[in-house]
Homo-oligomer: 213 residues x 2
Amino acid sequence: MRAFVLFVCLSVGCLAQRPQPCASPSLLTGSLSVASQNEKLMAYAKYSYDALGKRIRLREFGSYDNKTFHFDVLLLFREGVMYKINYKNQTCCKKPLSADFHPLEIPRNSSLLGQVVVGSSSGPGQGVLVNTWWGELGMKKGPAKYMSTVTEIGCIPVSTLFHTSKSGWMVTNFFNNVIGLVDPQQLIPPHFCKGAPLEERLDKDPETFFSLF
Amino acid sequence: MRAFVLFVCLSVGCLAQRPQPCASPSLLTGSLSVASQNEKLMAYAKYSYDALGKRIRLREFGSYDNKTFHFDVLLLFREGVMYKINYKNQTCCKKPLSADFHPLEIPRNSSLLGQVVVGSSSGPGQGVLVNTWWGELGMKKGPAKYMSTVTEIGCIPVSTLFHTSKSGWMVTNFFNNVIGLVDPQQLIPPHFCKGAPLEERLDKDPETFFSLF
């Protein structure tokens, strides 16, 4: 009997050792780059992320179809509004946001692809242990595969590959992440947004996080 | 005068703080994955690397044009020979190797693209500091751009993007690297390679490291 209990305890212990899908810290600040397989889209963004208040700020520049673009958006999912901010002209464009807030996390039904060390484990500061997960999402436009890499310690996002049959792979790399909000004010609409009228949505598709890119 | 000396010392100190092109450790063992932009090539390899003896062992499997392949090669650059090894059939194919040995390093004339933290610097074990370099190589078939990322501490390879106008991007990701040779015997031809005759090269192009993939 004692051996059986020991066996069960060890089994549970071993299972617990296996990486589990995880949620990233609720407050994050950092940078990300986005690139599409067809080289149409290349973008770089600074982000502030607040999963508690369901708020995201993205200040992004990049190129799409060889045309450069720049935008600065604040997404307030709880209120269902999105601000397109132009600091230079001190103008603000307020739009409805119907998308759901997707927290930075590994979905529960993801499968572990593997655990590797990026860099080396031979010396301190030479590497980081990461887990890579994959799965499928049922999207309106058809199924999409994803592959997400996060750090083993802290569940910090490292990279996400998103594949749709239409547009191929889209790679997002996260870097310079810090836990917490470096500037909480980034998640509050600036003063010149105060009187901005809620514009009607002209496009039929809802504005989702991914359609921003 | 004293202020001037202080200024010079500080300047030199600051310059020294800037990341410098570096050479990776002479002995490395690890894994790598290779993928081409057009999705034609996907491969995974375990490698042993000895820059002192100019020897590389690659045990690789993957797919090219939707056909899977597997190969196991030992490259002895100093002797100018390459062994294609088949353990299952205990056969060995010895070929001339005319390519130069390219150590894993950041070329001196590379430009620093940036320094970032992969993961987070907010807690121990959550991230690693890396430097990304880029440059151009004059290849026979035309210029090729590269972008190489190595860890700040230890100069451990993390990833390399290689771009030619013909084949687009080719991405190599290194992982599970350890400093040293896990199994030095991997870099010695197995016993059944002893009597293998040196085959003549049928293809006109020299066998380079990159043409292996």
